[in-house]
């Protein structure tokens, strides 16, 4: 296998690792700020305990995210110098802004963690809010840089050189809005369901534990509010991708032929040779309806593009289907939880729902990972869509397999450390059953 393959693998592995912590770094501060806000309003000590425990976990996750983010800022150049040479000046601005957001987040996480007894309760809560907001902005800036790779704007191409660079236009490129919306909501969905799963797990054995009941309530509210919005933003994303990157959309839908009244293909085995998707479940006119609100609309297929400009159709299509399935499963779970809540029954007294929530814990992250595979693999063979091919950006450095293996091993190792530490944190919290009375989960 080539150095190019390993360079792509190392980048994919680093991003796949980092994005988990980046998403939790956006979602967790919101949860802890909500918990502390509940404490300020109700003065119930359980909420104070909750925000303290969550902030400890957040600190660990944030530290790992900071670390893997530092590595990524170097890897951009170490693996893709050809890309950075041309694009560095254009995407520098969102990265600089991200630096400021990250710095703010880092400082206020410090203030939050070490300032419990120093600041007034209101100021302390505000510092938590600043962490949450700067985390969101940090994510937004980085995602606009990725959006630029998908929908390059803000420059003119003269003799293979980028001129008349306008960094603001580059940042506000046509793909920014949908990517930013979809990623930010994804962070809330994934964090909400993952945290809900952890606390649901403990509630199965100890349904009256007040700590876990309060935690489950807050996490589920965040998850259940975000998931329907996320489905809507996903619909919007698909329409924008169809407009900006029709080849990517065709690969997502495994749609080889251009047709009017295109069916929506689910699953199946895309076959580039025969240009068919075998064994797929087809919903007649579904794709046309989804993309254009018109069952007879014309949808462009992969056949319109030279095969050398196709992404890997199988990976993109299957990842896309997996992401959508995970999203739909979470939506169903949110509806179920909402139904039980609406009928004023405590969720903790519903063992089957708790089991389902535990099982659904990883779904948000499955959706994030597969969603990014759709974005990134779907952009191939381009590193800057339609402008620069990925293979022309890779480092001339030989032996990339070595850093790939080393960093993969380091990250696996780091993942074990994180799981170990978070488990210890949780086992400390799983104290004796607390009083039953005070709180129902929809507090």
């Amino acid at each position: 296998m080539s150095d190019f393959f390993f360079a792509r693998s190392q980048m994919a592995m680093s991003l796949a690792f980092h994005i988990i912590f980046a998403a939790l770094g956006i979602g967790m501060p919101l949860l802890m700020a909500i918990a502390e806000g509940m404490y300020l309003r109700t003065s119930k000590p359980v909420y104070l305990d909750l925000s303290k425990r969550w902030s400890r976990g957040t600190a660990i996750l944030f530290a790992v995210g900071a670390l893997s983010g530092t590595v990524l800022s170097f890897e951009l150049g170490l693996l893709w110098p050809g890309f950075m040479e041309k694009a560095g000046a254009i995407i520098g601005m969102p990265f600089s802004l991200e630096g400021f957001a990250f710095f703010t987040e880092a400082i206020f996480i410090g203030v939050y963690l070490y300032g419990w007894n120093r600041l007034s309760p209101l100021m302390h809560w505000l510092s938590g809010l600043i962490v949450a907001v700067s985390g969101i902005f940090s994510g937004i800036f980085v995602v606009t840089a990725n959006a630029w790779m998908n929908a390059p704007a803000g420059f003119k191409m003269v003799d293979g050189q980028f001129t008349e660079i306008d960094p603001i236009a580059a940042m506000l490129n046509p793909a920014s809005l949908h990517e930013v919306l979809h990623m930010t909501l994804a962070a809330f969905v994934a964090t909400g369901f993952a945290v809900a799963a952890v606390h649901a797990f403990f509630l199965r054995r100890d349904r009256n534990n007040l700590f876990h009941r309060s935690a489950l309530g807050i996490a589920l509210v965040v998850a259940c509010v975000s998931i329907p919005l996320q489905i809507l933003s996903g619909d919007y994303s698909a329409r924008v991708v169809g407009r900006l990157q029709p080849a990517k959309l065709a690969a997502m839908e495994a749609d080889y032929r251009t047709q009017t009244g295109a069916p929506l293909l689910i699953g199946g085995i895309p076959n580039d040779q025969t240009r068919t998707t075998d064994y797929a479940v087809g919903i007649p006119r579904g794709l046309s309806l989804l993309l254009a609100d018109n069952p007879g609309a014309r949808v462009v297929g992969l056949e319109e593009f030279p095969q050398t400009n196709w992404p890997n159709v199988r990976i993109v299509h299957w990842s896309f289907d997996l992401m959508v399935s995970a999203g739909m499963a979470m939506l169903a779970l949110a509806v179920w939880s909402g139904w039980i809540w609406w009928r004023s029954r405590p969720l903790a007294g519903h063992p089957r729902l708790l089991c389902a929530l535990v099982a659904a814990g990883p779904l948000g992250f499955v959706a994030i990972e597969t969603g990014w595979i759709v974005t990134e693999v779907g952009r191939q063979p381009w590193i800057i869509y339609g402008v620069m091919r990925t293979e022309n950006a890779v480092t001339p450095m030989p032996g990339i397999v070595a850093p790939f293996v080393v960093f993969t091993a380091l990250y696996i190792f780091l993942a074990f450390i994180v799981v170990f530490l978070l488990r210890r944190q949780l086992i400390e919290t799983a104290g004796p059953a607390s009083e039953i009375s005070a709180i129902s989960t929809h507090a």
Binding site: V64, G77, P81, G82, M84, F95, A106, G110, I417
Partner: protein, 288 residues
């Protein structure tokens, strides 16, 4: 003009990284070198000093990288290609050190595994700044050449020279000195500990002087342009393209070297520098 502005900001970020991040690395070194009856308390003082700031200090390094690729994209691409190996080694050091620190800092129990993590932390604190000094040194050797956007001097140019190695050792010494000075100020409430760190600061300062001398001597052969900065203008024939790409880095290095070279007089200044920068970030630690 714009390039100069970016270079000035890079210089500031790099100085801040050296002063604050450097002190973190130095803290890790003194953690590994903690000896005597107060070793445990020394380690505690170090952990308390580093704890709240180390994540924030990453930002200065990231800022240097971002400014470099925004202002000097071709230079960045060349640097990342020519110095791929030491940069990767430095990154591995950063990840190991970070992992060890996370484990130590966020694990409540103290047992045998903790001790192993401390060793990883200490060793990585030595390796990482060594590679950083080496990388900065390599950039100033003038051995890395870029022709038509391609690095033509391979992957081993510059960083294996004696000058670059001397720079690596110098960075180690400088960071150890900075950290000890800083810890002296941070342990005012514990006179015996303060005395420990004061002695470490003085000794590392004494050791740093001859190292700085070696760097200066090695630069005559190893980095002639660098050596000539103080005297007359740089050789105009070659390197013009190169210097325009790397001028930011070179300027940073010059300031950094100057900062350390006459450390006797700068000792107090360095302490106040670090204290000024560090104090407002460290403040929350006092109540922990």
């Amino acid at each position: 003009m714009l390039e100069l502005t970016v270079a000035i900001f890079m210089l500031l970020s790099l100085i801040l990284y050296a002063l604050m991040g450097g002190a973190d690395f130095g803290g890790g070194m003194w953690d590994l070198l903690a000896v005597g009856p107060r070793a445990v308390r020394q380690r505690k003082a170090i952990a308390k000093a580093i704890g709240p700031i180390w994540e924030a200090n990453h930002v200065w390094l990231i800022l240097v990288v971002v400014l470099l690729f925004t202002g000097f994209p071709a230079g960045f691409a060349g640097m990342m290609t020519a110095l791929n190996i030491p940069l990767t080694a430095m990154l591995i050091g950063i990840v190991l050190r970070g992992s060890a620190f996370i484990f130590r800092n966020y694990d409540s129990r103290s047992d045998a595994t903790q001790r192993h993590w401390s060793e990883v932390f200490g060793v990585a604190s030595f390796c990482t700044p060594f590679f950083q000094g080496m990388i900065l040194g390599a950039l100033t050797t003038g051995q890395i050449r870029i022709v038509n956007g391609q690095v033509v001097t391979g992957f081993f140019a510059g960083w294996l020279t004696s000058f670059a190695l001397a720079c690596g050792v110098f960075a180690l010494g400088l960071f150890a000195f900075l950290a000890a000075t800083y810890l002296t100020l941070d342990t005012q409430d514990q006179p015996d500990l303060q005395n420990d760190f004061r002695r470490r600061a003085l000794w590392s300062g004494v050791v740093l002087a001859p190292i700085a001398g070696v760097v200066l001597l090695a630069s005559k052969q190893g980095a002639p342009e660098m050596y000539g900065v103080s005297g007359h203008s740089k050789p105009a024939t070659k390197g013009r393209m190169k210097t325009s790409h790397f001028e930011g880095s070179i300027a940073c290095w010059a300031a950094w070297a100057a900062h350390g070279r006459n450390e006797r007089t700068q000792c107090e200044l360095a302490a106040y520098d670090i204290n000024f920068g560090g104090q407002w970030l460290v403040q929350p630690a006092d109540c922990a």
